[in-house]
Point group: C2
Chain length 407, copies 2
Amino acid sequence: MNKQEALRLIEEIALFGKGEKGITRLAFSESDIQARNYIIKLVQAMGLLVRVDGAGNIIARLEGSDPERAVVMTGSHLDTVPEGGKYDGTLGVVAAIQAVKELQTRGTLAHPVEIVIFAAEESSRFGLATFGSKAMTGQLHVHTLSRLKDENNITFKEVIEQQGLSVASVKQAARSAKTIKSFIELHIEQGRILERQKNSIGIVDSIAAPTRCKITVDGVAAHSGTTPMDERQDALVSAAMIVLAVQEIALAQSHYGTVATVGALKVQPGAVNVVPGRAEMWVDIRGIDHDSIIATMQELKDAISAIADAQETPVSIEVTSAEKPVAMDEEMAELIESICRDKKIACQRLHSGAGHDAMNLAHVAPSGLILIPCKDGVSHNPEEAVAEADIMTGIEVLTEVLYQLAR
Amino acid sequence: MNKQEALRLIEEIALFGKGEKGITRLAFSESDIQARNYIIKLVQAMGLLVRVDGAGNIIARLEGSDPERAVVMTGSHLDTVPEGGKYDGTLGVVAAIQAVKELQTRGTLAHPVEIVIFAAEESSRFGLATFGSKAMTGQLHVHTLSRLKDENNITFKEVIEQQGLSVASVKQAARSAKTIKSFIELHIEQGRILERQKNSIGIVDSIAAPTRCKITVDGVAAHSGTTPMDERQDALVSAAMIVLAVQEIALAQSHYGTVATVGALKVQPGAVNVVPGRAEMWVDIRGIDHDSIIATMQELKDAISAIADAQETPVSIEVTSAEKPVAMDEEMAELIESICRDKKIACQRLHSGAGHDAMNLAHVAPSGLILIPCKDGVSHNPEEAVAEADIMTGIEVLTEVLYQLAR
């Protein structure tokens, strides 16, 4: 295994979208396209057969001795959140490449192995997460695509069309379940469990599902100098109360592993001398206990209703996604466990609070998710850091899993 | 007095910057420049001598029989807040034009009369209020201009340079106090006092001064799915607490006439799946009781300090302006009162919660501010509305004041 090559590749990918603070490689942005093109050239140079499917997923295939057999698939994503880190997604892409390089040295395997770089995994730009893997597994409501746009009002449709894709081609990206033997993804944990337990490998049992909603508070825009305090219908004051309600409700539910976040808030008209007339907020609720998520959502609705009445600021809630937690394949988990045991690598089972492409693949094929520790659990942040030894362990386990599945 | 002409002019100006919601004619924006050019042509067509000073103030002069005498000045502004109304500023410009048209029919007056359209009165775009009148009265710290920029990072310097102005020319816009005999401005009240008291004219005793600060909360950006609730340093949660503290403190001080508003709040990175790492807020505190404003600011600082400590999110406060309330000229107020008495117009004295160009002129010349009622006190809002009869009464009183001062 070439350690320096893996580390260098991570650094090279990190240059695409590198800014003053972290890496901003939003889905289908110029820097994302540049990173994707860089990887396409790299996997072509490895002698793999490369194609881009109708959803923009890059698929690089190591042919098997029997091309008719179902493929063993691995991969992750290259797009990032705004001001993100070097490892989220990128690690899984680099690990897949390094693992396949190693497999190439072991002679032809029975099953084809495919590296997939999933398109638009992060929801940051268009509010839709794991676009590429949803498309590939036929879980996308294509009609919802037409109303997606980013904060500059650039539509998703227009963005994919610039890449030679279309709503129709996205539909065609769906693959039949029987063509995929299994899927395995390597990712950083984005939490602190492995670090605390001093384990190098985490084997995911289930992936938490995000429930997301957009909350809009309507107040009355008014002059900030002349409108008495007791006559205001200040949308931001109500929004602030909702932010604190989200926090309080999630704290009370946190023993079920549920978390809730107001990640974005926009104020209109947003001038220093105008009482806010409108506030829009985006809430993300996650957990592995579905009942707790439902309870959190219900309590939030009750709290919002009380705030709206008391403040005389009508509030509307639009639930934009409500997914169920997804179980990973037990046989796959046991395979990973046995590989770790053989190699004397400290591992443990855990849940993933973060969503991943693996949760979509799990609907069509036995799927696994391997996590490695990241420093202080920090992710979606420029400070994201991973120990070199853990990267190498992750690649080693991934390689062995692919080998066992494909040979 | 030509009533239809005044109303038509208001509607015509309202077309510049008209959007789906209200009028957005930000200082020195394209629509502001278009409205200004429209007015320049209009006052030129009246036979007035028109010039634009080094700060972009438009000055249209009706010559007096003795051009050496100090000028009687009137005017207001054309720029608006984002999604503002038709009357804020515009009313004073239209009234000045209509009043001077009437004066032109009364033969030559002893003093010159000048209509001034002050540049960049609203603070919405660059965070600096009453730029033009500050420049004209020599109250501008020219070195502060160099760090002003709008939310698209367009600098104030670059914007005025596009208009053929410069930091040096702004300095030259300052006029000697002895060249100005008096200043009188007509404006909508932007409050409900006149409407409630059923008075047509308000005569302002003093103008509240804004104290403004920018508050920055530093949290830690983190993954919204994997970061446990009790390990977060969520900048938006702290910001929400500060919004509510501002509200609570201002409510307690409201019997002194003090108000406080968080008009703008920005969250970084602002993605639905990232715990906010930073929040920036802009606070506006106003009142006519200087001690109450100081107390409000102190209590806010104490509250912020407690929130910063408890939440482990450092908070910095940058005070961007701290002005004292300004008294209007008593003789001028008495003149307006006597005119109302003669014309049997119901009037009253009041304070102005809103800042106006008149507060800067008051530092160099006896100044007055006449207010007319606006519906429900609503302003800085597309719903701004004024009764036609009140507009005509306002123009009538303004005309008579100018006549008495200039004859």
